[in-house]
């Protein structure tokens, strides 16, 4: 352990699939309670970065350091218990379990379980506790992913396209929810395409293109950056780079 105030440090993370370098020497630092946007066109490596940090993929090189401890290549459940969690672009609830039971699974395996009632209230799913998953909307299922993560008392959550497909009212509700989590000291890396939504939640962003970092800094500066504009608007092909 070190005295570093940095919560999570990603150092030169590289992930390779066969001959394809899906992620190339990506680095990132995040402090407790901070929120960073992770943006980039489809195929730019956003979800690969999340999957690599969360233990689904083993990196070819680079390190993931949580509170000074190297957790590179650890198994997903160890990473989750250590304090890193995530939601999924396509929600992944346990379909045969109720909403309550979904959160209970996390609670059972948490080192420091949060009360299930409180967790469900934090994502506005309290009244759906005994409902089957089939009765939840896609937006509610995404919030259930978030609830399962919260039950493990995470230090940082990767929020993968939580806003996709939401109505403007739901977007505002979700943004407020994420800000509350920040207030509780939970750091967040928000993977998102919707800039309007990101503006409500994060101040800085990391922009990926073809697995490489092309910009890090304030969100408003990213929107003015020439390379970012070219990647998003200029029709650059990620597959070819």
């Amino acid at each position: 352990m070190t005295d570093s105030p940095v919560l999570l440090r990603i150092e030169n993370l590289t992930t390779v699939f066969g001959g394809l370098k899906a992620l190339s020497e990506v680095s990132l630092e995040i402090n407790p309670g901070q929120a960073i946007g992770l943006v980039g066109p489809n195929g730019s490596g956003k979800t690969t970065l999340v999957n690599t940090v969360c233990g689904l993929y083993r990196p070819a090189s680079g390190r993931v350091i949580l509170e000074g401890t190297d957790i590179t290549g650890h198994r997903p459940h160890s990473i989750a218990r250590a304090g890193i969690n995530r939601t999924f672009q396509i929600p992944k609830p346990f379909k045969d379990l109720s909403v309550y039971e979904n959160v209970k699974v996390s609670s059972i395996h948490s080192r420091n379980p949060a009360p299930i009632e409180e967790v469900l209230a934090r994502v506005n799913l309290r009244e759906f506790a005994n409902h089957p998953i089939s009765e939840l909307t896609a937006s509610q299922q995404k919030r259930l992913d978030l609830a399962r993560a919260l039950a493990l008392e995470p230090k940082i959550i990767f929020v993968d396209e939580l806003a996709a497909g939401l109505t403007p009212g739901e977007l505002h509700e979700v943004a407020e929810m994420l800000k509350q989590f920040q207030a509780f000291g939970i750091a967040m890396i928000v993977v998102e395409h919707l800039m309007g939504f990101l503006e409500q939640v994060v101040a800085s962003v990391l922009v990926l293109s073809a697995g490489r970092t092309i910009f890090t800094g304030a969100l408003r500066n990213a929107l003015a950056d020439e390379e970012v504009k070219r990647v998003f608007l200029g029709g650059e092909s990620d597959a070819g780079n």
Binding site: C54, P76, A80, F94, L97, I108, H109, E117, N130, A149
Partner: protein
């Protein structure tokens, strides 16, 4: 709609009731049924085999019903159980009931050795277990191991034969397997296994040590098959390796479990008793049409009750309940 505190209370009261009454009924009914059946139907060996299949179907239930892993090579544990118990009886003069328990331990140990198979998924896992069990059969039946396993000539347990004791042990195994399934179903362990079955990676991000939890289910399932094989060997008295390392044992146990409905306590029991009865009735009355009729039964099952009899029953009950709600 109940509040969460109420749900907790309901669930805790509900689970307490289920933990006691539900498993007790699910265990006692078949146990008493088997105990009485011998007074109605005198073919004790057939009833012993039926009880063994109930236990095997429940073993498949723990593995497939709660983790989603289909163990086509389940017969490997069965065969190892038969051999381990037979050998400790013959070589060390162990009492048969203790030998049955040791057979279960043998099954579990082989389960632990085959743990790397969990690196495979879906059909690859099913085929992997099949290949592993065939490999075990080849080793056990190998003539060069005749001094240890008696090679291809099998084991002769005639000196230990006791049909009544074997039948009683088979009934006890039925009870053990149903209690095991009831425990798994009603426990946090069962909840975890269901989460793994739905999505292993998602479960691991919920903090679940997926390989370890699967391993526990695999061990319980393998131990049940090991004890079932031990009782089979003891009740059959003389057996050859191909009789206990027979892939059709796995197929039947899987079909029985699926027919009744996996993931439930009652399903595999009902499935095994009904289908094994049909299996024998057709085999005795119309042996020439046996494959045709049995195949047709399985096709009908897949077409009209893919979730088994209990799934079909739940579907009908749900329809009736929603119709009643509409009428109200």
């Amino acid at each position: 709609m109940p509040s969460i505190t109420e749900i907790d209370t309901i669930q805790s009261t509900d689970s307490k009731m289920k933990k006691l009454v539900g498993p007790a009924i699910a265990t006692l009914v078949p146990v008493i049924g088997f105990a009485l059946a011998i007074h109605v139907y005198s073919n004790e060996l057939l009833l012993t085999y039926m009880a063994i299949y109930v236990a095997l179907a429940q073993g498949v239930n723990i593995m497939y019903g709660f983790t989603g892993y289909l163990p086509f090579g389940y017969f490997g544990f069965f065969g190892i159980g038969a051999y381990v118990s037979g050998l400790v009886m013959l070589d060390y003069n162990f009492p048969p009931v203790l030998a049955v328990v040791i057979g279960g331990v043998g099954g579990a140990l082989v389960g632990a050795i085959l743990l790397p198979l969990f690196r495979l998924r879906g059909a690859y896992f099913a085929i992997g277990t099949l290949a592993a069990s065939e490999a075990i059969y080849t080793i056990v039946a190998n003539p060069s191991l005749q001094s240890v396993t008696n090679g291809p000539y099998g084991l002769n347990l005639a000196n230990y034969y006791s049909s009544g004791m074997a039948y009683g042990s088979a009934i006890a195994l039925v009870a053990i397997s149903i209690i095991a399934v009831s425990y798994v179903r009603g426990s946090r362990f069962g909840l975890t296994l269901k989460a793994i079955r739905d999505d292993p990676y998602s479960a691991s991000m919920a903090g679940v040590n997926v390989p370890r939890q699967r391993f526990y289910a695999w061990l319980i399932s393998a131990a049940i098959a090991g004890m079932a094989g031990s009782i089979f060997g003891w009740a059959t008295s003389v057996f050859y390796p191909q009789a206990v390392f027979d892939s059709s044992l796995s197929v039947l146990a899987i079909v029985f479990a699926l027919f009744g409905g996996v993931g439930s306590v009652w399903g595999p029991t009902i499935g095994a008793i009904l289908l094994y009865s049909v299996y024998n009735a057709i085999g005795i009355s119309n042996p020439q049409y046996f494959q045709l009729i049995y195949g047709a039964v399985i096709v009908l099952l897949v077409l009209f009750a893919p979730r088994g009899l209990l799934g079909f029953w739940n579907f009908i009950a749900q329809k009736l309940s929603s119709k009643r709600k509409k009428n109200d």
